[in-house]
Symmetry: C2
DNA sequence: CTGAAAGCGCTTACAG
DNA sequence: CTGAAAGCGCTTACAG
């Protein structure tokens, strides 16, 4: 038995003594086909191990069943879970996910996009690499639905993002309600839009609470290590007026902060409180679990996939999803 | 300006007063084309915003540029990084990743596979859902290259996996060299193949060290929470002869164990030592960083993608990748 | 209810 | 160096 050539509708048709058109009708479940004919054809389809060639069908039908998804950083659980949400939704609707990974490189992103558009996706969900500019996206034809996720890109793009400012404001308010007097904002790069938005939310909450003069911002890499090192320094240098409330740029930073506090024998959820942002899976798995601002990344992915089908050439969608406080440590300072 | 119809080679040809064949030649960079003709055509391609329709080309050329990748759990960083490695390699070779996510559900996996095969992938990389049996994979035609990753599936499949046993043996040896007297194996479900392989490696090292009678196995969910709860119990109940060495099923468990130790004020890397497995990104980011058994998941992904192109109908590849000790905490007990 | 013919967008022999 | 024709595997009007 050599490498059997793939069987096609013409083969099925010949084997059944019908025309390809009839086989096609059976394939699409058309009620036009005589029951006996249908049975015969279906049996042959099963017997022969026929596999539908969707690319050929799509070409003829002038449709597409693929959506392209470009992720900036798959190693980040937030984006990995987002991707799983996208794929989930698409699979349910009979679509398929064409994945591209930019690894935060604008050049790789351009290559990946150039490759993916050639597969005629019905739309593109782009979680852009850092510092993506409008001119990096010129391969995206105006009549191809594009949804930018999470990070704004200069220009008018359909967008799905988080309400960073209100989120951070709620985070800070939570700490205030717990009775914390000295609350700082830790982590992220001040020049990133999401960081400045979150800082602004923190600042607003502090101001409304009459604590404008205590505002403190600390920069760090948006990682656990960054948060750890940053918090360690804070605890070292602000020894006399150590903050007890930490609004963090994201969960990774927050987990690093928790670690630094633990090292100093400061019990999180008791002498100090920490709020993260993103609700990555680790936030809930951690011990003690991390209070954070949440919009399930998976739900976001599903929403993004949904939006792709709602994009119209003449309008620009701009959806900012509220983030909610997910309280996992209920106690504050004595 | 209405929704411009996509431009195709025929349009380019007409605009340049040449035949579609010539445009096609230009597209593939054929040296046959006259320089002036080429220039003219290339200019028109650029001007018109032409996008190559790879599906049509592939149909005609009888080739495919897609590889299907089915992941059991994208929220797990190990698999997310694996996926990024696959996509990396494929993108370099001009291929594209068709992503499917099973979420550890055998039924979803079947649906996803059925959908993906219709896109004529050149091959399929499958990181199978738990409890996948041969009969769950009947849609995978014999002459479609399939590579099973990480978990064996009954039957003869091309396979890429980790040397779990030797890895765990090395992990245990490391703890023995550090001088630990009481070493336990923590985490995982005993009935999972990877867990029983790792347990066997631990057992072998203990036996070679003449510590057969101290062997202790503890089961837990393969998560951080599982490791935390398990270790907490161990520390509670084995109070008199507390183990100081922990060979862990995977990094997530190991990080949970670290957390439990920290809560008991036992300093990891000093009074106790923990070894993980997988080297997920968090292992290196953690504080203190986690000593673990490593084969970069990203490198594994790249290797898997490479292997897909080496699969031949008449042979079965079976590659077991060694895992190396990645020492991140160099001290042991006093 | 079924078939013959044309065509989706591309490429490949084959002529010239 | 270039073009006319055929065909990848499918589906869709159109006849009958």
């Amino acid at each position: 038995m050599g490498a059997a050539l793939p069987v096609k509708v013409a083969d099925i048709a010949k084997a059944c003594g019908v025309s390809p058109a009839t086989v096609s009708l059976v394939l699409k479940g058309s009620p036009l086909v005589n029951a006996k004919t249908r049975e015969k054809v279906e049996a042959e389809i099963k017997r022969s191990g026929y596999v539908y060639n969707r690319a050929a069908a799509n070409l003829r039908k002038q449709v597409s069943t693929v959506v392209a998804l470009i992720i900036n950083d798959l190693a980040n659980p937030f984006f990995a879970e987002f991707a799983s949400g996208v794929d989930n939704y698409l699979a349910q609707r009979g679509f398929v996910t064409l994945l591209g990974h930019s690894g935060e490189s604008v050049e790789r992103q351009a290559q990946v996009l150039n490759s993916l558009v050639q597969h005629s996706p019905v739309g593109i969900i782009l979680s852009p690499a850092e510092h993506t500019e409008a001119e990096d996206l010129t391969m995206l034809n105006r009549n191809l639905p594009v949804l930018v996720f999470n990070r704004e890109v200069p220009g008018s793009w359909n967008f799905l993002g988080l309400d960073n400012q209100t989120g951070a404001e709620k985070a800070c308010q939570h700490l205030l309600h717990l009775g914390h007097q000295q609350i700082v904002f830790v982590g992220g790069h001040a020049d990133s839009p999401s960081c400045s938005q979150r800082r602004a939310g923190y600042a607003r909450a502090m101001q409304l609470a009459g604590k404008k003069e205590y505002q403190r911002f600390f920069e760090s890499a948006p990682t656990k290590r960054g948060g750890f090192e940053c918090a360690s320094q804070i605890l070292e240098h602000l020894a006399d007026q150590t903050p007890s409330g930490f609004v963090c740029y994201n969960d990774a930073v927050a987990l690093g902060v928790c670690q630094a506090l633990a090292n100093k024998r400061i019990r999180v959820g008791w002498q100090a409180s920490v709020v993260g942002f993103d609700d990555i899976q680790e936030a809930g798995d951690h011990f003690p679990p991390l209070t954070t601002m949440t919009t399930s990344p998976k739900a976001l992915g599903e929403r993004a996939a949904e939006m792709i089908f709602k994009i119209r050439p003449d309008t620009v969608l701009h959806e900012i999803v509220p983030v909610e406080l997910m309280i996992r440590q209920s106690t504050g300072p004595k």
